[in-house]
């Protein structure tokens, strides 16, 4: 189980990597440095201003979360440069929305910019439209191998992410405009977490797109985001799920702010992993057509491992946070509630996958199929439990 036998590299087989000649760090060095310091200065000034102005209204946990977010963004934007532009755009749009609302929610219907762009409903719609267009552009890029379509696709995906993130920020504000005690972070029901899912999946994908300098996986990942968008549209139009509802008492806790996003990094990564598996299987068996349009199998394999590892790490974090929260809200860190149990099943599944991959060095088709089946298990834990099983964790009923 140890794999301690590191000293012999003999016998491992890694196919040749046909990548760009320059390591990504060197090529992107200029880009990576671009306005990092001004950005960080702005970020921490904003943080300091928030504390100075609203610190008295915040409790200890909220202050810790604020500082934690600033620290995480400092670290993240250093490695992931385009995030700076995204965050600036979202901050500008959100602040504009706050100013335009003037403490009056009804202005969402009357003010032009709010009605068509900045209210959370409009911004969510823009996110849906832009992700849809990004999917088409990625498909075109993949099919015709057109570099222009590829650039357009990436730009659209970033725009969609900006729109979605703005929608969440503005929705957060809108919830406080309904009534002060109703206000809460918009990750409390199925509609809201679906938006979160799209955003996180897109951000993780876009990171690896940059890192690996290939847009050929975009069409696969965007397909799953489009599926989520389809559900979102159906859910809001037929069930009126986009209405802001007050929190049930059990959800009214600072834990929600960290448990839910951590979980969705896990879900997002596992979904991307499943789509990379599809690409891998097509690359392996699809002949010249797919060979010309997809990265080499070894790259896909490496990417698959990295993304599952990332997802697993955050899923572990999320499950542990969930247990800590459960200990406060339900009176026990583990109750074998269906949602908990399915989280454990997902965790065990990917733990087994990682063991085989790391220790046994399994690669290839079996692991790809396994990651694909893993998505079914993950989807059941995410959605199926809410639909078919009942338990303590029955938020976001369909």
């Amino acid at each position: 189980m140890s794999g301690a036998n590191i000293s012999s590299g003999v016998g491992m087989s890694v196919a040749p990597l046909v990548m760009d000649t320059l390591p990504a760090e060197d090529a992107g060095a200029v880009d990576q440095r671009r306005y990092y310091r001004p950005f960080i200065a702005l970020l921490w000034s904003a943080c300091a201003w928030t504390l100075a102005r609203y610190g008295r209204a915040m409790d200890g946990y909220e202050i810790i979360i604020l500082l934690g977010v600033a620290a995480i963004l400092t670290w993240l934007t250093r490695r992931y440069a385009p995030l700076r532009t995204l965050l600036l755009a979202v901050a500008a749009a959100s602040l504009a929305a706050i100013v335009l609302y003037r403490h009056d929610l009804t202005r969402a219907e009357t003010h032009f910019a709010l009605k068509y762009f900045l209210s959370s409903g409009a911004a969510t719609m823009w996110m849906c439209v832009l992700f849809g267009m990004a999917t088409l552009a990625y498909a075109l890029h993949w099919w015709r191998r057109s570099p222009y379509a590829g650039q357009l696709a990436t730009a659209l995906a970033w725009a969609a992410t900006a729109a979605g993130l703005t929608a969440m920020m503005v929705r957060w504000r809108e919830s406080y405009l309904i009534a002060a005690d109703i206000g809460h972070i918009p990750i409390s029901n199925l509609y809201e977490v679906f938006v979160l899912f799209c955003l996180i999946t897109a951000l993780v994908y876009l990171y690896y797109e940059r890192e690996y300098r290939t847009r050929s996986l975009g069409v696969f990942v965007m397909t799953i985001i489009s599926a989520a968008i389809g559900f979102l549209l159906w859910y809001s139009s037929s069930r009126g799920a986009d209405a802001i509802q007050p929190l049930v008492p059990a959800l009214n806790s600072y834990w929600m702010k960290i448990h839910v996003p951590a979980n969705f990094i896990g879900y997002g990564c596992f979904s991307i992993a499943a789509m990379i598996s599809v690409a891998y299987l097509l690359r392996e068996r699809g002949g010249a057509f797919f060979a010309a349009r997809l990265p080499p199998a070894a790259v896909l394999d490496e990417l698959l491992y990295k993304i599952i590892a990332l997802g697993f790490a955050f899923f572990t974090l999320a499950t542990i946070l969930g247990a800590l929260w459960a200990a406060e809200a339900w009176g026990g860190y583990w109750s074998w509630d269906p949602k908990e149990t399915w989280a454990l099943i997902v965790w065990l599944n990917y733990a087994a996958w990682l063991h085989l991959r790391i220790v046994r060095g399994w690669e290839g088709r079996v692991m790809a199929w396994w990651a694909l089946v893993g998505l079914l298990v993950t989807s059941f834990a995410f959605l199926g439990v809410n639909m078919f099983l009942s338990g303590l964790h029955s938020y976001g009923q369909l």
Partner: protein, 678 residues
């Protein structure tokens, strides 16, 4: 490996237990077994399972422990086996890993290194010591720890390791799994299972007050680990809680007394509940004074190792002021009752028991979505629940609302009824009159059951229904008899009985016409009764006439199903004093610290394992006059493509800093093992 034992069988057993294959099998096995408990709802009352699966499968599933999978012996065994396997794996590998971390393997010879996949070889025009220094510096800057061994002045090897944290990650994650499981076991209810199996504890299934629970169903007061719950009505106290086991419970005496002063529910402006809070007072023999606390959802109370949670609430014996309206008597009986008590009434010589089971001050229901998007809630107002138990033991459950509820523009008093808790409630819609009371409908119903009134009303009905019959005495008498039969039928069996009768006696071709005629006749009769008890104002306005018609339509619908209602009276609520009971969960979890330590280790371990790469690099230096021949070789546990990049960069740097001749084109990963570079 395991030189602790020399016996081959034992050694094979240890190897098997610590093997990856077993661990993977167990991981997947436990995952699959866990599914069972989520698909089958756990810890329900046994009769529910019996009703669901039938006697045969009920017994099979019970013996497999499927009603409480997670404490079933086989499941715990699988879990214990997994923990044991992980422990053996740790025990076997941890010493090896620690040793490997200290072992730089600086004694590796050139030939061994030439077999590694990652290699660069070049000649530098500098002395061996300079070259060594450059290499050591470059490696250290990359985060490697180095050790150098010189074999004479002309040969030396620099061996470097990076990623001690990775190995630490392995140790952390695997010991975390063991810790979490052991801690979970400490807090689980395995001791209770063992106690009941050995007969030291007996699960109590009767509904007894705490003081009467027999000694063999009581857990020790100093029980180190339990998860119990107790329901305390406002103004009352508890010094014990209940631990649910299988189809019964065990009593857990507490070292303190919990008194509930007040249970509060706050609401959002939309009506949904915002918070549940209990104001409690705890007192304990050793304390100088009782202590006051507030327990809320997400804000448990910790006292001396015990934790108290807000878990649920229900009615704690609200006082209800009721009015009993019998269909057959004009008198209204005033009644006082408390929830969770029983009132007995004698109806037509039969004893009926009214078991009051619940009272709710608010009944929030989604408002019918008119604008589509925004869902709001409306409050249907207070309701109470009671069971009407016949002398033979059968019971019906009724849920009555205190205030009229507006449905599609009309106001009704709702009264839900069902025969078993598994059924959906079916509602009797009693139309509210102009004063917002059910009185007019109740008088109308009573009129229908009042034979003396018939004689007065009947001629009027006939006059309205068949004016021509007044001239023919025989026809008149036949018609009157027919109408009387129809009304009796309607009174006994509702509209269903009338339609069944039509189906039975009328040929198929005329059925729908006959049915319609009967319904019309009944409606005419009802109107006559209504005119009799509530004469229309003269002159009648169009609006008032319309209102009367609508009321009659609703009343007819309600009377049509009244026999199915199955109660000789209607019970209305005229006032109440609400008393709530707070459900508290009280736990003692000594394993929590162990589990949390495990959580911390697991998290740290997972990130270390994935994000601290474990790598080794060797540099084999050989002096050739003033020049130095350098062989760099390396190996990585995973992330080989990343290592490839790092290794290339390092090699390039060393190459540059030692001023070597232009490096020949190298095949990096593409090179086959053992192939020499020129």
């Amino acid at each position: 490996m395991s030189n602790t034992t020399s016996r081959p069988v034992l050694r094979a057993a240890v190897r098997f237990l610590g093997s990856m294959n077993l661990a993977i099998t167990l991981l997947v096995g436990v995952a699959m077994a866990s599914v069972v408990g989520t698909v089958l709802k756990q810890n329900q009352p046994y009769p529910d399972y019996l009703a669901k699966f039938g006697p045969f499968w009920f017994e099979v599933f019970r013996s497999l422990g499927l009603y409480d999978v997670y404490t079933a012996a086989w499941f715990l065994f699988a879990l214990a086996f997994l923990v044991f396997s992980v422990s053996v794996c740790l025990w076997r590998n941890a010493p090896l890993m620690m040793r490997a971390m200290r072992d730089y393997q600086e004694g590796r010879g050139r030939r061994q290194l030439e077999r590694l996949k990652f290699r660069r070889e070049f000649v530098s025009p500098c002395e061996i010591t300079n070259a060594r220094n450059v290499i050591q510096q470059a490696l250290r800057r990359q985060g490697y720890r180095c050790r150098t061994r010189s074999a004479g002045p002309r040969h030396c090897t620099v061996a470097a390791i990076r990623g001690w944290g990775n190995r630490l990650g392995y140790l952390c994650t695997h010991s975390a799994v063991v810790l979490i499981c052991v801690g979970g076991l400490l807090d689980g209810n395995v001791p209770l299972k063992v106690g009941t199996l050995l007969g030291r504890l007996r699960v109590e299934t009767r509904d007894l007050p705490a003081s009467e629970v027999p000694a063999e169903s009581r857990l020790p007061r100093d029980n180190p680990s339990f998860r119990a719950s107790v329901l305390i009505p406002e103004g009352q106290r508890a010094d014990a809680a209940y631990v649910n086991v299988a189809d019964g419970y065990l009593l857990q005496p507490l070292p303190f007394v919990v008194a509930l002063r007040k249970f509060r529910i706050e609401h959002y402006q939309t009506g949904q509940p915002k918070s549940f809070e209990s104001d409690v007072t705890l007192s304990k023999p050793g304390w100088t004074a009782p202590r006051d606390y507030t327990i809320a959802v997400n804000h448990p109370l910790s006292v001396e190792g015990y934790t108290l949670y807000q878990a649920s609430f229900e009615d704690g014996g609200s006082r209800l002021r009721l009015q009993l309206h019998r269909w057959r008597s004009p008198d209204v009986e005033e009644l006082e009752a408390r929830v969770n008590t029983t009132v007995t009434r004698d109806e037509d010589g039969r004893e009926l028991r009214l078991e009051f089971t619940d009272f709710r001050r608010f009944n929030l229901n989604p408002a019918p979505a008119e604008d589509g998007a925004r869902r709001a809630f409306i409050d249907y107002g207070p309701s109470f629940t009671y069971r009407l138990r016949q002398a033979d033991g059968t019971a019906r459950e009724f849920v009555n609302y205190m205030q009229p509820v507006t449905l599609q523009g009309r106001a009704y008093f709702l009264s839900g009824v069902r025969d078993s808790p598994a059924d959906e409630l079916r509602y009797l819609h009693i139309p509210a009159d102009e004063d917002g009371t059910p009185d007019q409908f109740l008088s109308l119903a009573r009129a229908l059951y009042d034979d003396s009134r018939w004689a007065r009303v009947m001629p009027r009905v006939l006059e309205d229904a068949a004016p021509a019959a007044a001239r023919d005495a025989t026809l008149h008498s036949n018609l009157e008899q027919a109408l009387r039969r129809l009304l009796i039928l309607f009174r006994q069996g509702g509209l269903d009985a009338v339609l069944n009768f039509v189906n039975a006696v009328v040929p198929e071709a005329h059925r729908s016409a006959a049915g319609e005629a009967y319904v019309k006749l009944l409606q005419t009769a009802l109107r006559a009764f209504y005119d009799d008890i509530q004469p229309p104002p003269r002159p009648v306005s169009a609006a008032a006439e319309q209102e009367r018609n609508l009321f009659l339509k609703d009343a007819f619908a309600a009377l049509s199903v009244l026999p199915l209602y199955g109660s000789p009276f209607y019970l209305s609520l005229s006032g109440y004093t609400e008393v709530l009971a707070s459900g508290l969960q009280i736990t003692r979890t000594p394993g929590k610290r162990v589990v949390y330590l495990g959580f911390g280790l697991l998290l740290a371990g997972v990130f270390l394992l994935f994000y601290v790469p474990y790598r080794r690099i060797w540099a084999c230096l050989e002096a050739r006059g003033d020049e130095t021949r350098v062989l760099l070789a390396g190996t990585a546990l995973r992330h080989e493509p990343d290592f490839d990049r790092e290794f290339s960069r390092l090699a390039m740097k060393v190459h540059r800093d030692t001023g070597a001749r232009p490096m020949p084109p190298v095949a990096t990963l593409a090179g086959t093992p053992g192939q020499r570079e020129t």
